[in-house]
Amino acid sequence: MAALMTLLRLGLGGLFLDQRAFQAQRDAPGGVARGAALVTLVSLLVTVAALLGNLGESLTQPDPRLVSATIHQSLKAMPWYAETTASLPTFAADFEQVFTRLNSFSLTPSPQSSLLGVVTAPFLALLGWLLTGTVVHGLARAFGGSARFGQTLACTAVASGASLLGLVQIVPYAEMLPGTLFLASALLALFGTYVAVREAHGLSPWRSFWAVTLGPLLLTLLLLVLYCCFAFMLVSALRSVGGGSGR
């Protein structure tokens, strides 16, 4: 129980960007193991909270099939449907097609998918932590940092405390404005990683900034280049097909 409380305090230290928490992790002998436990615990807590929230949502919502059937019948009974069908004979078939497609699409996460998340999230969080830690460590060392790999990992684990904001999902229908929770958590995690690098490697603010942001920036650039290449190839292929048929 005491170990659990220590981990939670460490997580809260990360959430509040408390540099004493980062320094303690840097100097702790078992920092990496404690960091791994913290990352696992935080992701587990957040996904369980999301599961409970989704369960609450599904218990206070009508059956989706019933909702769909009600909308379908009511839309078809409206004057606009009769008018459009009279003026456009193919509209009825198109309407059914579009409605079937929309029907299979849902923005509300089901409790089943949340349950799957409880199992997979800790592994994904650990993987993400290891990957981020490795990239950040390499860049920090390139910028003149002096910390060992274990110290970087131990400190960046504290930044995962930012995800504790996700505990709010225990309340069904939380996050009325979509994306705000992700934005707040992501920015806080970025700030936490910056503090982690600064405290672990003793780098200047600008060097710490580049060590943290260069990785994501390069990844974005790479994705953008790949996207452009793909788009260029697609356009070329379409043109060659169009040119071929024109001849």
């Binding site: 019933l66 009600t70 707040a184 806080l188």
Partner: protein
């Protein structure tokens, strides 16, 4: 907490300097956001709950809002599309019937439980919204301030930037018809003023440099956006001109 809240609202330099030197500046700033967010969220949640307590009330509220917006669009338009107006008028009643049917569909738990959840969700979501907005703003301002030679730390900027949320306590009165939007604007301008003062204290800037740090990137982005719109418009004109 109240001292910090009052200090933020009155732009008290001593309170800001005290927070800058505090080791737990971020925690105290976040607590202020939580306090304001819970206050505003509770007021807004209760107001929404009263307006949508029964399906009939929910439909009445939605109908009033729709009528108001529809009239506004028709009145402000120079040449309203008569076909569109006729279409909307013909389908308005069946649409609200559909809305009523959806609201009265059976749920596993009774409707008041869902409404209780919605109220709680509004209460807990408001601090998160304020926090996300503040963090995004602070990230941009801190970056600009460091480029302009500021020496403040990120934690100090986050802690003091949180003070800018204090005037948003006025958002708790947003449910009052007529003055809600005006109060929102007042809170926004007040918050911006606090943000400039906070930037000046954190980075030891004069007011001019702090104002520049706050406005530089938003202004540059607006100008770039405007330029992009002009280029796009010119390109469209060139294409359609051909």
């Amino acid at each position: 907490m109240m001292e910090l809240f009052n200090g933020a609202l009155t732009l008290n330099q001593n309170v800001m300097r005290g927070l800058r030197e505090a080791p737990d500046a971020v925690r105290r700033g976040f607590m202020l956001i939580l306090f304001v967010g819970l206050l505003v969220g509770t007021a807004n949640g209760v107001s929404t709950l009263i307006q949508t307590a029964t399906p009939a009330q929910a439909i009445q509220t939605a109908r009033e809002q729709f009528d108001q917006q529809f009239k506004q669009v028709v009145l402000t338009s120079n040449n309203p599309d008569q076909t569109l107006i006729r279409l909307i008028n013909a389908n308005e009643a069946p649409f609200f019937t559909l809305f009523e049917m959806l609201l009265t569909l059976p749920t596993p738990l009774p409707r008041p439980v869902g409404q209780g959840f919605q109220l709680l969700a509004t209460v807990v979501s408001t601090p998160i919204s304020y926090l996300a907005g503040m963090l995004l703003t602070v990230a941009v301002i801190h970056l600009t301030a460091r480029q302009l030679g500021g020496q403040g730390h990120l934690q100090q900027m986050v802690g003091l930037g949180s003070l800018a949320v204090a005037p948003h306590a006025l958002d708790a009165l947003a449910f009052i018809p007529g003055i809600g939007s005006t109060l929102g604007l007042v809170a926004w301008v007040w918050g911006l003023t606090i943000l400039i003062a906070a930037t000046a204290v954190v980075h030891r800037f004069d007011s001019l440099r702090a104002t520049l740090a706050v406005f530089l990137y938003p202004l540059l982005l607006s100008m770039l956006g405007l330029l992009a719109c002009c280029v796009l418009f010119a390109a469209l004109m060139a294409v359609t001109g051909r």
